[in-house]
């Protein structure tokens, strides 16, 4: 069994005393309290075409409502009530000078006063363990609202709604250790106690949340077990940061698809010139088309025990998938002490280029080269990545077209492959299966 020791991130104020079972009457999210709750409910509109251009989403007033008035308003309210472990707006943040524009944040409070805990990293799928901390133990004051499908053509908001037995509630709760303002957790079907494992329905829910928020700066992320998820209870994270992430600016190269995606309209690309190798999914006639292709890729990864991270970007229009192997390398003692000392956990936000640093020294000295080196450790090797990509194609029923002989196009100069950046890139790793 492979394990690593790390300081767990505290996502909820109820996490500390997770082992002792507290009798209820404290408005938790468990079966005792949630079914009789009166939480606010945001019922999103039924699946429709995602907005085709970046222009469509932003001018729609309800879009502004969900993110700005509801989510941020509720978040500010919880801040006034003192539910967070620290004031994230007091954390210094900057863009690291350079090509990529990595973002660094100095966050000294996030890991304070916690002892390192042992995490098993060699199993991406682990059964739900009711004895461990999970979100049913969270107090309702940490919940901002429920987020569920309304089925109508328009999204609706209810100030207080009762829970209907036929429809298991999905909730948006605060992360009490936020890495940016508005940091929340989306917990699909909280009462079902699902382990951290992607399924098509939950992934579509996450995509809907990105679409409802309608801002390119409000992104959702997912970490699998073994890729720095700390809690084995299905959840996505999301927060607001109004700068483009380096990964969103990285060039991509479209993968010509011969068969498989014809009807859904989903496009797949390879991430180029970025320290972590990854796949980019975009397009799709409906959100569901896009969600299904990505979710099926994730399902193959988790079933084959490959840890991964997912970034849902551009209001749900672009999705990045990163298979990774850092934790395994760490467990095998293959990560340099220098990197370990920084205690950077390369989860989805770090991989996307938002580096949360715990020591002032690291923050002040952070350079692009340093960020690149940390992230390069996370990536699969080119060989292994190609292998994984081929498996994903097979599993999702896709066939890559023969690479057509493209004209010598002057643009290709910028589409430099990751492997070519030898100056930055140290050796990738192989996940042993």
């Amino acid at each position: 069994m492979l394990t690593i020791k790390r300081v767990p991130t505290v996502l909820s104020n109820y996490q500390e005393d997770a082992t002792e079972s507290r009798g209820c009457g404290r408005n938790c999210l468990g079966k005792c309290c949630l079914p009789v709750s009166k939480l606010p409910l945001y019922a999103f509109k039924s699946d429709s075409k995602p907005p085709v251009s970046p222009s469509d989403a932003i001018e729609d007033p309800p879009v502004d409502f969900f993110l700005n008035s509801l989510l941020l308003g509720q978040w500010e309210d919880r801040m006034n009530r003192g539910l967070f472990r620290y004031d994230v707006t007091a954390c210094e943040t900057k863009v690291i000078p350079g090509e990529q524009g990595f973002i660094a944040q100095l966050n000294e409070g996030r890991h304070l006063k916690k002892r390192p805990t042992e995490f098993r990293v060699d199993r991406v799928l682990q059964p739900f363990d009711p004895a461990k901390f999970n979100f049913t133990k969270v107090g309702q004051e940490e919940v901002l609202f429920r987020f569920e499908a309304g089925g109508g053509q328009k999204s609706l908001f209810f100030d207080s709604a009762s829970v209907d037995e036929a429809n298991p509630p999905s909730v948006v709760a605060i992360n009490v250790s936020p890495i940016e303002y508005g940091h929340v957790l989306l917990i699909p079907h909280v009462l079902d106690c699902l382990p951290q494992r992607i399924d098509t329905e939950s992934f579509l829910l996450a995509l809907h949340m990105a679409a409802e928020a309608g801002s390119p700066y409000f992104r959702l992320g997912y970490n699998s077990l073994g890729a720095f998820a700390t809690i084995n209870h299905l959840h996505f994270q999301a927060y607001y940061l109004s700068v483009p992430f380096p990964v969103e600016k990285a060039p991509t190269r479209k993968i010509p698809i011969a068969k498989g995606l014809a009807d859904g309209g989903v496009k797949m690309s390879l991430l180029m010139n970025y320290p972590v190798r990854g796949l980019v999914y975009e397009g799709g006639n409906t959100l569901k088309d896009l969600a299904d292709v990505v979710a099926n890729s994730c399902i193959w990864l988790q079933e084959n025990n490959i840890p991964f991270n997912v970034l849902i970007s551009d209001s749900g229009r672009r999705i990045f998938l990163f298979p990774q192997c850092y934790a395994e390398k760490q467990a095998l003692g293959e990560v340099s002490q220098e990197l370990l000392d920084t205690q950077v956990n390369p989860a989805v936000w770090e991989i996307s280029g938002h580096m949360v640093l715990k020591r002032r020294k690291d923050y002040e000295e952070a350079s692009e080269d340093y960020a690149w080196r940390v992230l390069a450790e996370v990536s699969l090797s080119e060989e292994r990545f190609q292998e994984v990509k081929a498996y994903i194609f097979e599993a999702t029923g896709l066939v890559e077209a023969e690479v057509e002989d493209m004209d010598a196009d002057e643009n290709k100069a910028t589409y430099q492959s990751t492997t070519a950046s030898a100056t930055h890139f140290s050796q990738g790793c192989l996940v042993l299966r």
């Binding site: 251009s53 943040t93 863009v95 690291i96 483009p244 004209d407 643009n411």
Partner: protein
């Protein structure tokens, strides 16, 4: 799916004193007309009434936008631009430049433009835009900021658009017609008189296959043309700004007085559609350094009348001195507070102001401003059923998020 027995909040709360629709509609209309006025006056206030005519005489394709008005709208579109894009003046002015983008517009280019605006710098980039009839065309997009001499703030952006001529190597087929195969839209617009079918069919075929990968590259001549066009627009603007004494320049000048809010911050704040001001507690008498459009329409003042002033001009007969003292105490303690005050508009009429004040920090984590959110107490709930308190907190949240807007220049 949500059970049908729930009814939306708008109906639930009918009895709680929601404004009757006509009043709400009138209010919305008033807000709309306030923004229209700002758009109308965006150029004339700064460059005199002659500016529109002068700009109209320039032959180039260009837009002027105002980052200070919410939504960063277009405030001027040249004749050349309208002819090229197939839009009418009314369809363009007041809208954001995003309307010209479409499904095949490269997201990276859009992101680069977004960043250049945030960082207030000049940018030249090729871009796939869409005409009014839905056809895409490649343009060379040249963006440059216009600064106010007095405080170094960005007050406008000029966006020149030069159509890119399609050369043979851009295309994969159709060698014979290549000489006619221009992606200049003039070809389409001007050759309406019995032009040869070969060109038409080529262009049709061409547009179908047009996507991000198949693209034209701008020639040096086109790049120069864009730069020259931008320069002539800028020099016209500089020239006419001297008539009002509110001079503009094309390079940022260091200013001695109040450090202006950056344009990216202004744009982020402009997206917040509620009445609020930012005040700077580090300056004598805590002056207003930002006022939202909705604040101006609520109080009836214009922006230049309130910037630099302390908020006390809203007070008057009937304003409770005890409440004012409470607010002062909170500010001294760097705490958030909520209060109800009787305030006065410019025309002398009064309104019950549900005021919420909260300190906000900048990206370095230091206390930088107070955000003060005003709400007319007659507006109990908005159409989506959020309480005034939640809406006010939403504004504070949005301001805090905007404060963490970063610039890549912010590095050491």
């Amino acid at each position: 799916m949500v059970a049908l027995r729930l009814c939306p909040i708008a109906t639930i709360h009918d009895h709680t004193g929601t404004l009757p629709p006509p009043a709400a509609a009138a209010m919305a209309e008033e807000m709309g007309s306030c923004r229209d006025r700002l758009i109308d006056q965006s150029l004339t206030a700064r460059y005199s009434g002659w500016i529109l005519e002068a700009l109209d005489e320039l032959p180039d394709n260009f837009l002027i936008t105002d980052p200070v008005i919410s939504g960063h709208p277009i405030v001027f579109a040249s004749r050349g631009f309208l002819a090229m894009s197939g839009y009418a003046w009314e369809e363009v002015v007041g809208r954001n430049g995003r309307i010209f983008q479409g499904p095949a517009t490269d997201w990276r280019s859009v992101m680069e433009i977004r960043e250049a605006i945030r960082e207030e710098r000049t940018l030249q980039i090729r871009l796939l835009n869409y005409r009014n009839d839905g056809t895409p065309h490649w343009i060379l997009f040249h963006l440059c900021p216009v600064f106010a001499m007095e405080d170094g703030r960005v007050i406008h952006f000029v966006a020149v658009q030069v159509p890119i001529l399609r050369r043979s190597r851009c295309s994969r087929s159709g060698a014979r017609e290549m000489i006619f195969g221009a992606c200049r839209n003039e070809v389409r617009l001007d050759e309406d008189c019995g032009c040869n079918l070969a060109v038409d069919s080529f262009l049709d075929m061409d547009n179908k296959g047009l996507d991000a990968e198949e693209s034209c590259k701008a020639s040096d001549r086109e790049k120069e043309k864009a730069l020259n066009a931008a320069n002539s627009v800028l020099s016209t603007m500089t020239h006419y700004s001297k008539l009002t004494g509110r001079v503009v320049c094309t390079k940022r000048r260091g200013s001695a007085g109040i450090a202006p809010l950056s344009s990216s911050l202004n744009i982020s704040l402009g997206r917040i559609k509620q009445s609020f001001v930012l005040t700077n507690p580090h300056l004598p008498d805590m002056p207003i350094v930002y006022a939202s459009d909705e604040f101006l329409s609520l109080t009836g003042y214009s922006r230049h009348e309130v910037l630099g002033c302390n908020c006390r001009f809203l007070n008057g007969p009937g304003t409770d001195a005890g409440v004012l003292q409470q607010i002062k105490d909170c500010i001294r303690a760097e705490q958030a507070c909520s209060a109800r005050l009787l305030n006065h508009r410019k025309d002398g009429s009064s309104f019950g102001n549900l005021l919420h004040i909260s300190p906000v920090r900048d990206a370095s984590g230091k206390f930088a401003f107070y955000v003060e959110v005003q709400m007319d107490e007659n507006l109990k709930r908005d159409e989506h059923g959020l309480s005034p308190k939640m809406r006010q907190l939403g504004v504070v949240g949005q301001v805090k998020v905007a404060m963490r807007t970063l610039s890549s220049r912010a590095g050491p």
